[in-house]
Every structure is written in C-alpha cells, then in structure tokens.
Symmetry: C2
Subunit: 212 residues, 2 copies
DNA sequence: CAGTGTGAAGAGGTTCACAGCG
DNA sequence: CGCTGTGAACCTCTTCACACTG
C-alpha cells in the first residue's frame, strides 16, 4: 500500500470561480468611494448568502475584522494576489473574424489583468492587415512567436471545425490557459486549463424556464 | 437560479445547464453522419462520466435502448423539445457598441433557436444607423416596441454603469430572459432569468492555476 | 453481452449557529 | 453589540454497481 501524502485540503474549483465576481463587486464598491463592506452586503450584491462569502474567503485567510467587516482596498489586493492578477498577463488571440475583432477592440480586459499582444488568423485575406494595434500574423509562424514571447494565455475565436487543431498548436506553443469561444469541447493535456464561452448555450438554458 | 415548485420534484438547474452541451455534441455527431451513440461516447466528448449523462437524461424520460445506446436524431429532437428550442425565439439586442455589433453579425444563434429582431442603443450618433439587417432604435421607444412584438428574450451589451437601468426597462417591456454581457450583477424580479457572460472572470479563474 | 436506467452510497458544497473578537 | 471565522449539520450532486433488456 502506498503512503498517502499529508492531506492538503485543496480549494474547490467552484470557490475559485466565484472569486473574480467578488473582486469585480469590491472594485465597484471602491469606485463608489466605499472603504468598508460586510459579507452581508457583498452577498446581497452578488445574490449569495453571507455565509458563503465568509466561508469562501476563509479558505485563503482571515481578511475581515470581527464586528467591523472587510476593508475593501485590502481585500481587493488580497484577491488580486490570490487570482494572480496583481500583474498584467500577455495574451494571444487566434481568430480575426467578427468575434476576434470585437475581442481585440474590447478595452475591459486590461483593467482586470490581461493585455492582448498578438493576433493570428489562417485567412490569407486577413494576414498582414491591421487589427486594433496589431498586425494579424499567419498560423505558420504562430507557434514560434507565442513560444518566443513566453505567452501562456490564449483566446480562441475560430470556427468550431478548426478549434481543436488550433488548440493543439497553442499547447505546443506553451499555452497553459485557453479561453475557448468556439462552440466545441477541447481536449487538452493535464496542466492546461480551458474555460468555455458559449452564449447560445446560456440562451438555451434560459428557454427551458420560459413558458412556451 | 433554481425554480421551485411545491408539488413536483424540480429538475436541478445544474442538469438543465448541461443539456445545451449534450445537444451541441449530438448535433456535431449527427453532422459527422452518425446515427447512434452511447453515454460513454458522449461523456468522453464532453469530459463527463457516462453515469452522469445517463442520470441527467433519466430526469426527462427513457431515451436510450439497453444494449444499444441512443438514437442521435431522436435524442436531438427530445432535447430541442425539452429546452424549447424546437422553434426560433425572437430576441432584442440592447447596445450597439463593438460587442453589440459583433453579436448582431454572429450567425451562430439562428441554428440554435434564436434570431435577433431588434437592436437599440442610447447613443444619438448610432440611432437610425443600420446594423446587420436592422435600423438601430432609440431607448425611448424600446419598451413599447419590445412589448408590442411580444419579445421575451433580451441580450444586454451596454456598459456596466447602464446595465441595471436597461434591465429594468427590459423587464418593464416584458422580458423574461436576459443574457447579460455587462460585468455587473443584475437584480430582476422573480420569474425573470438572467445568465451572465464575463470573459474576464473566466480569465481570472484560469490565472489562479497558472504558475507565476 | 453491451449499454441503459436507477436506487444507494459517497463526495462535495452550502447553510447553520455560535464562539470569539474588535 | 456587530460581524467574522468555522466546525457540524444539512443538502445536493456525482458516482457506483447491478438488474434488466434489446
């Protein structure tokens, strides 16, 4: 029987997934000029219970003051550290269609820790053209350029039919996180994280609850 | 947002949320010319266990044949019926910035049960302009026009600062489902469903797992 | 005999409730 | 007194395992 390693309680992924929303809400409170909040107020704003907020935060430390609440700038700093967005990550975008262009023009990423630094597409008509501040590169040189720049985060905005092939290339280029906008599931090696964005799936989730 | 009912055991919201992905995968299999599949194959494609697939489907009926598997066209039809996307829903889009324009140009919604029929914006410079097949309408007439058309689904692509006000108007117009692209939580009355899309939150979820 | 459907067991996540501290 | 942090209880979801069937 192999020995079990000392049980280090891992933090549930579902908890990690809520932290960006806590951070988002706290920054919104800060923008309103607030300095202190409580688990109750945060929960109300987020549609969660105060107990859940406290329990989630307690996985990472003791950030509040009993009887008082949470200092907003301090908690923002802690969450940015925990989520590793107390820096700006360089990102590669693959796909320069309508969606890719909208992503490239979106200015909301920088403030939350991300900056697109390269854009690639396979369409010869697009290669060499300008998009936002970038020149669209070709797929043949993509792997080398991404690897050379040590970029580890990718956004994938190509058709579903091409998504897996491009994902394989991104992994080869050293990507460790892929935000997948293509409506298809990606297979990636262990150690690579994928998050999917599928608006139509969300829509279909909602129609279930509609009266016909 | 689980919908409660006193008499019948409600189907878990998390199960409903997976159905669109089952449907998506089944249609992809159908497009490959396949006619039969199994819970094992579906699970592999989706990164889920076969038991989960079977259990989820069993909430809605007995769709498979023991020893054989699932008939793909039949199961596609059942899922479309369950999710109420065996029809095309009319949708109103509010917000004609970069994101709104990308959404309006995206052709992937129709095939999955949705068709944008109206677009509105508050920017006088945009009102009256054309976007895809539509003329951008003003916010003042939005409520009446949406109500008159009996549209119950909205996509919200306005800045976070305006999102709640617009959501209130949409509810007043009779919206029962809102796909919220703004990075802020919406407060809506019971009976209205909201689904949120926040790519930056997904990105921050992934950075947690990256080595610094 | 391959693969579904499903109770039961097991894991995992949420809420409770209260000690403890500012 | 107000609000956090946290074991314990509770509840929900997932996985197991097997009877059953085409």
């Amino acid at each position: 029987m192999p020995h079990k390693s000392a049980s280090v309680k891992p933090i549930p992924d579902i908890v990690v997934g809520r932290l960006p929303f806590y951070l988002r809400t706290l920054r919104s409170l800060a923008a309103e000029g607030r300095d202190i909040t409580s688990s109750l107020e945060l929960g109300t704003r987020l549609g969660l219970t105060s107990a859940q907020i406290r329990k989630d935060l307690s996985y990472f430390g003791e950030f509040g003051k009993q009887g008082l609440g949470y200092n907003i700038p301090f908690l923002v700093g802690q969450l940015r550290r925990i989520l590793k967005v107390d820096r700006v990550w360089e990102v590669v975008l693959v796909g320069a269609g309508d969606l890719g262009r909208a992503i490239a023009h979106y200015h909301g990423f920088h403030d939350r820790g991300f900056e697109i630094r390269m854009v690639f597409d396979s369409d010869p008509a697009k290669i060499g053209q300008s998009l936002a501040d970038f020149k669209i590169g070709d797929m043949e040189t993509m792997v080398d350029k991404v690897r050379a720049a040590k970029i580890r985060i990718a956004m994938l905005a190509v058709p579903a039919t091409a998504a897996q092939k491009v994902a394989d290339l991104l992994v080869k280029a050293g990507a460790k996180a892929i935000l997948n906008y293509a409506p298809t599931a990606l297979v990636v090696p262990k150690g690579v994280t994928v998050q999917n964005i599928d608006p139509a799936a969300h829509m279909q989730h909602m129609t279930y609850y509609l009266e016909s």
